[in-house]
């Protein structure tokens, strides 16, 4: 089988030419475009990944901003609620104290009125007592001075007390 190791000039010739043309054609119409496209794709993918990363960071920032906004809003709300609560308390307290004052005032005025009424009643009672006393005195006197003797006795007694100076 020595033919196995004998190069054949014809086949060498055709192989060289054909392979050369194949390399040329594939380089121009296949490897060039393919490798270029792969490079472009690689760059695109890299750029896209970077853009995605950036977008992700932006979203994270947005989330953070939102969180901050939410936090501040919540704080504000809490503040407002607190203020409102305080205001409510104050209003209630105010209302309560003014009502107390009013009540006190009413009680006071009622008391003075009662006092005045009482005094007037006492005064009236006094005058009535005086009148009644006079009537009683008159009755007593009437009954006492029925006898002459007694009249004289009283006049004497009275005259004893009076000094004629």
């Amino acid at each position: 089988m020595d033919f196995l190791l004998q190069p054949d000039p014809g086949l060498v010739f055709w192989t060289t030419i054909s392979f050369g043309i194949l390399v040329f054609l594939l380089r121009k119409y296949a490897w060039g475009p393919i490798l270029h496209a792969l490079k472009v794709r690689e760059e695109t993918i890299e750029a896209s990944l970077k853009a995605a990363e950036r977008a992700k960071a932006e979203v994270e920032d947005l989330v953070k901003v939102r969180q901050e906004m939410m936090n501040s809003t919540r704080n504000e709300r809490d503040e407002i609620i607190k203020e409102t609560r305080a205001l409510k308390e104050k209003i209630i307290n105010d209302a309560r104290s003014s009502a107390q004052n009013e009540a006190n005032k009413l009680i006071e005025s009622a008391r003075t009125q009662i006092e005045a009424e009482k005094n007037a009643a006492i005064k009236e009672l006094k005058t009535q007592v005086a009148e009644i006393s006079i009537d009683i005195a008159g009755l007593i006197l009437e009954s006492e001075l029925k006898s002459e003797k007694k009249q004289k006795e009283i006049i004497d007694k009275y005259l004893d007390k009076v000094n004629f100076n």
């Binding site: 089988m1 196995l4 014809g10 086949l11 194949l22 490897w31 475009p33 496209a37 792969l38 695109t44």
Partner: protein, 361 residues
């Protein structure tokens, strides 16, 4: 279910020769036994180049029918061109006449002869007639052109898919893209280095796919496959020489200095080392040439030998075993086809990489 069907189909196919052999035995069993089957002839015929493309043949003796395509013969003899088809060679005498010159076709080689077909032989029985320069478009040339058509069609159509904006690869593109990227990144750029690699990428990619597809075509057992193209020394020689030229033309200063001057080594050792280095320049591509050719040819020989087993043992019941074995071998050969393409490309890239390194080490 599929497996069962496969087994049935396989046994049917392996039993096919039974019918055939019974038929021929009925016809002339005596003749069959006397005519000794010589696998060497079949194997030699298969693994060598040819000026005719044999498609199929059937029948025996007088009834034998050969379907074959005569290929164009191109000869240069004494400064004159001769073009004719193989069919001009006489079927019996194997002599063809063209413009007053006579040529003899003998075991795949064309010799000069005269009208009577005179031959001169040396003591070993080899023909020593003069030979014209034979540039015929042989079976291997057509096989190579087939592979080139496939490669161009395949990769140019793939390249077209990359037009426009970058998108996800589809279909055949997604099969070849990882391979292309693997060869480019893991073989070429790895061995040669990022800065210098781009120059060699087209050659090495073409080399890989050229060897691979031709190995695969060689494994197709029927027309138009089966030619032993990458197992032909002329072909591997051309590829190895191209790698040799690419390597040494692009050799850097430090590469040549290391090869020719071997700096930093005692001068006594230099006397031995420098010739070794210079021989090494040639042994590297030589190894490439022999490795590819031997691997592919060996694969072809093994598969044909396994099939020949049926005829050597003259027993059809060997056929299941021999078919099963050749299927296994074919699967192995599919792997070898890829592996040899990979090795050739890897080593080419390695040699180029060693030559273009400019830094001192």
């Amino acid at each position: 279910m599929k497996r069962v069907l496969g087994i049935i189909l396989f046994s049917l196919i392996s039993l096919l020769p039974v019918a055939a052999s019974e038929h021929s035995e009925a016809k002339g069993g005596e003749e069959n036994n006397t005519e000794k089957f010589d696998p060497t002839v079949v194997i030699e015929h298969h693994i060598s180049n040819a000026h005719v493309w044999h498609v199929v043949s059937w029948g025996e003796g007088e009834d034998k029918v050969d379907i074959e395509i005569p290929l164009p013969i191109i000869l240069i003899n004494e400064g004159k061109f001769h073009f004719f088809l193989y069919s001009r060679f006489d079927h019996h005498t194997q002599i063809a006449e063209d413009n007053g010159s006579y040529f003899l076709y003998h075991h795949g080689t064309i010799y000069n002869t005269d009208a009577k077909g005179t031959i001169t032989e040396d003591e070993n029985g080899h023909l020593i007639n003069t030979k014209p320069w034979d540039f015929s478009l042989t079976k291997n040339v057509w096989s190579m052109w087939l592979s080139i058509v496939i490669l161009l069609w395949l990769f140019i159509s793939i390249a077209k898919k990359y037009n426009g904006s970058p998108k996800r690869p589809h279909g055949v593109q997604s099969f070849f893209e990882p391979i292309i990227l693997f060869i480019k990144d893991d073989i070429i750029v790895d061995q040669i280095g990022k800065e210098k690699a781009y120059k060699f990428v087209p050659y090495l990619l073409t080399l890989f796919f050229f060897i691979w597809i031709n190995n695969m075509i060689g494994l197709v057992p029927f027309f138009p496959g089966g030619s032993n193209f990458t197992g032909n020394i002329s072909v591997t020689m051309v590829l190895a020489i191209i790698t040799f030229l690419v390597t040494n033309i692009n050799g850097s200063k430090s590469y040549w200095k290391h090869t020719l001057l071997a700096p930093g080594i005692p001068s006594v050792v230099k006397i031995i080392l420098i010739p070794v280095e210079i021989i090494g320049l040639f042994t590297k591509p030589f190894a490439l040439m022999i490795r590819l050719m031997a691997n592919i040819t060996a694969g072809h020989i093994i598969i044909i030998s396994l099939v020949s087993l049926i005829f050597i043992l003259q027993n059809v019941w060997v056929s299941p075993a021999s078919i099963a074995l050749s299927v296994v071998m074919s699967i192995l050969e599919l792997f070898v086809a890829l592996l040899q393409a990979y090795i050739f490309t890897l080593l080419s890239a390695l040699f180029i990489g060693m030559a273009v390194q400019s830094e001192e080490h």
